[in-house]
Amino acid sequence: MYRYDNYDHTIVNERVAQFRQQTERFLEGDISDSEFLPLRVQNGLYIQRLAPMLRIAIPYGMLSATQLRKLAQISRDYDKGYAHFTTRTNVQMNWPKLEEVPDILAALAEVEMHAIQTSGNCIRNTTADQFSGVAPDEIEDARPYCELIRQWSTLHPEFAYLPRKFKIAVSGAEQDRAAIQVHDIGLQIVCNGEGETGFKVLVGGGLGRTPVIGSVINEFLPKQHLLTYLEAILRVYNQLGRRDNKFKARIKILVRALGIDIFREKVEAEWVFLKDGPRTLTEEAIAHAKSFFTEPDYAVLDDQQAQAELDRQAAADKAFSNWLKRNVRPHKVAGYTSVTLSLKPTGIAPGDVTDVQMEAIADMADAYSFSEIRVCHEQNLILADVKKTDLLAVWQAARQYGFATPNIGFLTDLICCPGGDFCSLANAKSIPIAESIQRRFDDLDYLYDLGTLHLNISGCMNACGHHHVGHIGILGVDKKGKEFYQIQLGGSSVNDAALGKVLGPSFSQEEIPDVIEKIVQVFVQHRSAEELFIDTVRRIGLDPFKEKVYAAAH
């Protein structure tokens, strides 16, 4: 993974010093609340319902074992001994003290981490496919380009006061696992007829109050032009994006207002000044970025022999076999696999881990996966390079520490924002909803029969829990001071991205497990053979679900 050189260290250390000085001035009363706000949020610091919240960046989801141990240490020293992994592959501490945040940032800088631009109206942490570099269906590894984008966007002088936040995602594989169609900018690595690498560029996607699927602004952008083209898009947005209404300030509103063709013309007109200038990426710069993402020292393994042994182990243990089916996926190198550690056991807030668990995962990464861990936007952690012959040991360790729930991609592997228990924006709680659903669907065999079914929960329309793109989406709403939940069906964040459609009137918290169960019953009744939930919804539409769910209510 990427390692800092002196330049990176200096920039991050200077940012820590700058924020320390800004925090002191704020505490002394020299900076007002409103003047301090963008300074602190661009360093990841929110003032929350119960306490400040610090969001730490994990660039494109890559973590080293050393970094994870440091996060465990920080959560113990400055917080309550746990942390929360987010849908932007960042990690949040929910109880730090404002005056200690500069010290936390200094501790992070020691292990090449920071909280820069994890919030605020600026370019946020760039996300990527969690299986970059190891996926069998990969065209090219997204991470070197993510790192180039990280550097370009970090402390960018022109784009720190955008109309609204700005999120970029990159996918380098045929299957989109980075939800690029619902980002402000989505980049799909493509190869043209001449064997050259470039990007299909999407713009104006996003969730939140007005969910939109992104539009294609450029079918093939040669790779050397990546940063100048991004700069042209941002410069147009910075000047023309609405600033009078924060709910209409995202780039998706601008793109929709102008139409993609006019927006493209404006970007191209701006790009003329930047294209082929000194900010154009060179072969050397790309090669330098790639040099940090070379293959680790893979062993040459006999895949057939390893598989035979694994089959034998699986046959002897049903629980291990279930876990292999759901939490382990193929790897491009013979004899290797990628393992997803589930952070969604029933009864724990999705994405939450304790300090002890973080240290256990770091140990597992050291022992079995080249000391690296990845965070995915579904709020799970991944050991990307595990030998088939190590899977039994990995499963046993995962089980000991509570990450072996064999539910990846199942209804209980739900995406969930912190909701009203923590977040001051939320209209409703989301964690208790998640738990009540997990408790209702506790039969693994049943879940296995249902197959892949993504359920996403957001506590408000800001959509941090990506409810619009869940196969089942649940949105917390406020009705006359009481918490209610609206259900949507048919969303998707992958290649066939779609926004869910609202089922009908909302439900109380107590009704939700029954409602979800009825929805699943309609699916089971109508599905053909091995059909997945999303395909059944697309085939039969919402009416059969409405009939079942609302008939029973009367």
Partner: protein, 164 residues
């Protein structure tokens, strides 16, 4: 009056900033003046005949292309920040320097605060009229917040990836 920072030092401001309400060129004060864009566009001939210098200030919804043709002849262009978090002016300054190759003074006016100076400078501003309640002396330190940056900008045309 000692709030103007120019090229990293606090200097005496010998320009008079005229506000938006002025709608006629008839009662302009003597000396160097900075006029709103509208006043300039409506009174170009009169203003060009003055013996003293005339600068123009752009509000945050007035991009530099509205000045096209006049840019080279202006000694000073000011860009207003109605609130510091309105970031359009950063792009305007870059366009003035990088598209129009404007070499005169670009002055930040309005809600101009210490914690934005580093970025403003990188975008091509070279003069800063700090908000009246702020201490310009203390603000000078912020120009040294960072010793290097990843991106190319007005005074560093080579991005870090070309210099590593």
């Amino acid at each position: 009056m000692q709030r103007l920072i120019k090229d990293g030092a606090i200097i005496h401001d010998d320009w008079k900033l005229l506000d938006q309400e002025l709608d006629s060129a008839s009662k302009l004060p003597p000396g160097n003046i900075i006029v709103p864009l509208q006043l300039w566009l409506q009174n170009i001939t009169e203003l060009e005949q003055r013996d003293t210098a005339v600068g123009i200030w752009l509000d945050s919804d007035q991009p530099p292309r509205l000045l096209e043709g006049d840019i080279d002849s202006l000694a000073l262009i000011a860009i207003n920040f109605p609130v510091f978090s309105d970031g359009r002016g950063y792009s305007y300054a870059r366009e003035l320097r990088e598209h129009y190759h404007y070499s005169g003074e670009i002055r930040a006016i309005g809600d101009v605060l210490r914690d934005q100076l580093f970025y403003l400078q990188r975008c091509g501003f070279d003069a800063f009229l700090l908000r009246s309640d702020k201490d310009a002396e203390l603000a000078l330190a912020s120009f040294d917040d960072f010793s290097d940056s990843y991106q190319a900008a007005v005074h560093q045309t080579q991005p870090l990836f070309l210099r590593r």
